[in-house]
Symmetry: C2
Subunit: 210 residues, 2 copies
């Protein structure tokens, strides 16, 4: 049994890259765990998957990134909450979710052009079209950014879908049971002061389906 | 400087319980970090704040909960993603978010009635009204559930709100800039097979504003 084998509810475990990648490519925030003086820390971070790696980036001054670039063990967990599962008992009530856990050690991407490309991939994943709409990073900006790559060698997904699973003795309870789907959706765009009148919405927003 | 002092963007740090509690009381999933053989692990978990404690629960067989109930150091991080911040440069593009980090050690709630009350508080927070609609936990079910309490003694919040902060030289760029708000919303309820026709929606769903 590996370190990423799903032990609780093993039937929810998935180890194929197709399942893992789909979750990673939908989620916006990762929770990154590291250890400092024996204490775990968990920090939310932006990320992007590129091929067989997760790229994390942030300020070069960040304690998290300084710890990780030295090869410290890291855990990256990504969770998509898909719904509340209302069973006919409290005990069997649950949530539908898709999560991925990645363990390993990161390496720093030092080359400026490789960092620029990582930032392009990150930007285009999160805000499609934005790279061509706005000023791209200067060398100076890239130098103040640390970019780390974490290989997807040790990763698993855990997925719960579908209706509640009730005890047979609860099946006839005269109560509503089922799933309330949850989804991250977008609201009305809020233009910044100073946006010239008539400026078209960026493609990120105009093409968004939510 | 404490272990939970916000170091990057210190102006985003908040240490008052009002701010911390509001974030904890809105979020549904926490990311719980622990250390096993020097390796950090980060697991998504349901939780509820009750007064000055976070309550975590799960199967008594879970490695995470078995590790934590022995007093191992833990990190609990909760993140609400509020929006994409589209600046006039890639470098200043960002996200609006509210997050809380709690560090400490948990203690197990062993008393059955205290566990029942913790499950009631959890259920009523996540699914208001549900405790009175469905079968509540039996003693046997409670015995297979581990409930842990983590005090909020060492906690901080980090919050980014508002529009992009651009460089002066980018201010006149002829491009849309601003915020795309993001929010977790509910879809159409999906009733389980076997729900009697005409069964009213649970209060959890009927009263939900999303």
């Amino acid at each position: 049994m590996s370190r990423v084998t799903v032990r609780r509810h093993p039937e929810r475990g998935h180890y194929d890259r197709e399942t893992i990648d789909a979750i990673l490519d939908e989620a916006i925030v990762a929770h990154v765990g590291f250890v400092h003086d024996g204490q775990p820390f968990v920090i939310p971070m932006a990320f992007v998957r590129v091929g067989d790696d997760l790229f994390l980036h942030g300020s070069a001054g960040s304690r998290l990134l300084r710890t990780l670039r030295d090869g410290a063990p890291v855990a990256v967990t990504v969770t998509l909450l898909d719904g509340l599962v209302l069973a006919r008992s409290v005990f069997n009530s649950s949530m539908n979710y898709r999560s991925v856990v990645v363990l390993g050690s990161a390496t720093e991407i030092a080359d400026l052009e490789a960092k620029r490309e990582a930032m392009r991939r990150y930007t285009e994943r999160l805000m499609p079209g934005r790279w061509d709409e706005v000023r791209t990073p200067t060398d100076k900006e890239l130098k103040t950014t640390t970019v780390l790559a974490l290989p997807l060698d040790e990763a698993s997904a855990k997925v719960r879908t579908g209706p509640p699973i009730d005890e047979p003795e609860d099946a006839d309870a005269p109560v509503w049971a089922g799933v309330l789907p949850l989804r991250l959706g977008a609201g009305d765009p809020e233009p910044d002061d100073g946006v010239p009148p008539g400026t078209p919405l960026p493609r990120t927003i105009a093409s968004r389906d939510a």
